[in-house]
Amino acid sequence: MLKIENLTVDVFGKRVLEHFSLEIPNGEVHALMGPNGVGKSTLANVLTGKPDYEVISGSVQIDGKDILELEPFERSSAGLFVAFQTPVEIPGVAYQTFLKHCLNSKQRQLGEEEFTAAEIVKKIKATSSQLGISNEMLKRGVNVGYSGGEKKRAEILQMLLLEPKFAILDETDSGLDVDALKVVSNGVNSLKSDKNSFLVITHFPRVLEYIQPDYVHIIKNGCIVKTGGPELALEVEKTGYGEF
């Protein structure tokens, strides 16, 4: 369960989130919608611990544990995952090697035995085929030479392997064609359970046809201005964000 209370954040002296509060119980999917530059991606970046984001006040808890006090790698092992809008390219680090380190880092943090190379390959292959990710792509550098769609699939692959308690999908639908959107959505839906929760950040309601939200929130000027059911996304489609 994610619980954000009165979160206020500055970036380079400019306020981007103000008294932002949100609670997502386990088993629920929430959508966060809003126009450009209102603080949607800021929320994702603050939660992962990006250094330029200054938390002025508030708290963020996953299953009762305040993650703002944790190092970024500890937040991951506390159960947080963010599928980034534009993940970085890391030349020279093969994607499969990167996944191996991600998985075994989590094992170490949990005090559990590391996976063997064979176990990791088996896990990766089983999940990557589900997302249509080729072996050739796994051998390339992390996100190097990937198309926009491949980058999004690669993010979802990481999410499925790491099995987080709470995941943010930061505009995962942007740049995806309909088929890719279905593949990515199916991946997300396959992970849904009563032990985890999701926040889908998006501009457009289309993705919400494939990943059904329980609640939709509209954000403007750094705080939530309206909350409703899935019908709120359809309202946005008709009227835009102007009236909020």
Binding site: S76, V93, F98, G141
Partner: protein, 392 residues
């Protein structure tokens, strides 16, 4: 014994540089120059060679030949008829026949101040060899001359990681005849109280190829000079270096000269500096007149791992032929914070993320060369040793 001509022409300015070091390199042959130099040295410094020649079998599956004592001249033909021959006033010592046939891969463990080792690799042969200079006396002012015969192939791993003495000067000269191939893997380690100046010369005839890999870890003063003279057509020369400089000062100087058309060279250099370390690289590719279709490339990348570290780079091209492909590139940077942040967001600790990025920096850009297993394993070992030194 065949002596391979190593005749610098007047246009080979790098020999003049060598003269500045006090070593008379001009002469009819390289070997004769050295002999003259040897005579200049006080003969009292030479002691009779104690043959030793014992063989033990616990060095990674290789047999070890200890060449024990101070040698003025040692010649071993890679042939069925092996003889380690002393020159002039020192007795000739013959090893058993077929020694290297029985032990085709071996370790030469060398010692002796101002020694000279000459290895002739006969034509159409194939050898792998470890050369271990683990005695600081041998490293000082000693000279290793390797002649690789036509169509021969030799892979050598040089163990230079225990050279702790100051002002060590192991000169290594490798002459490659037509279509000869050589792969060398060097590992240098220099501690903070030491200085080291290894020098390597290559001379390539038609169709010869060299792959040279250097891993350097130095916190003292280190300078490596490499002079390569491509004296044939259809040659391929590749030098790849990874240098990690700690609180000391390190210099890598690569000088390649093309004197015949249709040959290719690449200098692929990666320099890392940490602490107060200063690294310096000077690359030169010189292409003489009438060297059409030469392809000479220099590629240097530097990675600064701490605020006080510095790296200097100086790629240079001197081209006297119109129809050539030559290029140079040099870049310098730090570890990418966004990449570290991304990796941490996936549960990877900062220290491991840094190490992975350093490894990526080293691995991402080397050319793909088909190497023997011996050389590949050695390079991998060397890189791991360097990586393990990265501060966490």
């Amino acid at each position: 014994m065949t002596h391979y001509a190593f005749e610098p022409s007047s246009k080979n300015k790098f020999w003049d540089m060598h003269l500045n070091l006090g070593i008379p390199m001009r002469g009819n042959t390289f070997n004769e120059s050295w002999r003259r130099y040897s005579k200049y040295i006080d003969s009292n410094l030479f002691r009779p060679w104690s043959p030793g020649g014992r063989i033990i079998n616990d060095y990674k599956g290789y047999d070890i030949y200890f060449v024990d004592g101070n040698l003025r001249h040692l010649s071993s033909k890679f042939d069925a008829d092996i003889s380690y021959q002393m020159t002039d006033d020192i007795n000739e010592i013959n090893f058993p026949d077929n020694l290297l046939d029985s032990y085709p891969m071996g370790v030469l463990s060398l010692s002796g101040l101002r020694s000279e080792l000459e290895i002739d690799v006969k034509s159409n042969s194939n050898h792998e060899l470890h050369i271990k200079l683990d005695d600081k006396e041998f490293a000082s002012s000693s000279f290793i001359h390797i002649n690789v015969g036509e169509n021969s192939k030799i892979n050598i791993v040089w163990h230079l990681d225990s050279l702790e003495s100051s002002f060590s000067l192991p000169f290594i000269v490798m002459n490659l005849e037509k279509n000869a191939k050589a792969s060398n893997s060097f590992l240098y380690t220099v501690d903070s109280s030491s200085s080291n100046f290894p020098t390597v010369f290559y001379n390539l005839k038609d169709g010869a190829s060299v792959y040279s890999h250097n891993s350097v870890n130095s916190s003292g003063y280190f300078r490596k000079d490499m002079f390569s003279y491509i004296d044939g057509s259809g040659c391929n020369f590749a030098d790849e270096s990874i240098s990690l400089f700690g609180d000391g000062f390190g210099e890598i100087i690569n000088h390649i000269e093309h004197s015949k058309p249709e040959s290719k060279s690449i200098q692929n250099v990666r320099t890392l500096a940490y602490g107060g370390g200063v690294g310096s690289w000077q690359g030169m590719a010189k292409v003489y007149e009438n060297c059409e279709n030469t392809d000479a490339e220099q590629n240097h990348k530097g990675l600064i791992l701490s605020p006080d570290a510095k790296i200097h780079m100086k790629p240079q091209l001197e081209i006297l032929t119109d129809d050539v492909v030559c290029g140079h590139g040099a870049s310098l940077g730090r570890l990418d914070d966004e990449s570290i942040q991304y990796m941490m967001s996936r549960g990877i600790k900062k220290e491991l993320a840094k190490k992975m990025l350093v490894e990526a920096f080293i691995n991402a850009s080397f050319s793909e060369v088909n190497l023997s297993e011996l050389i590949e394993v050695s390079i991998s070992d060397n890189i791991n040793k360097v990586l393990n030194l990265i501060e966490e």
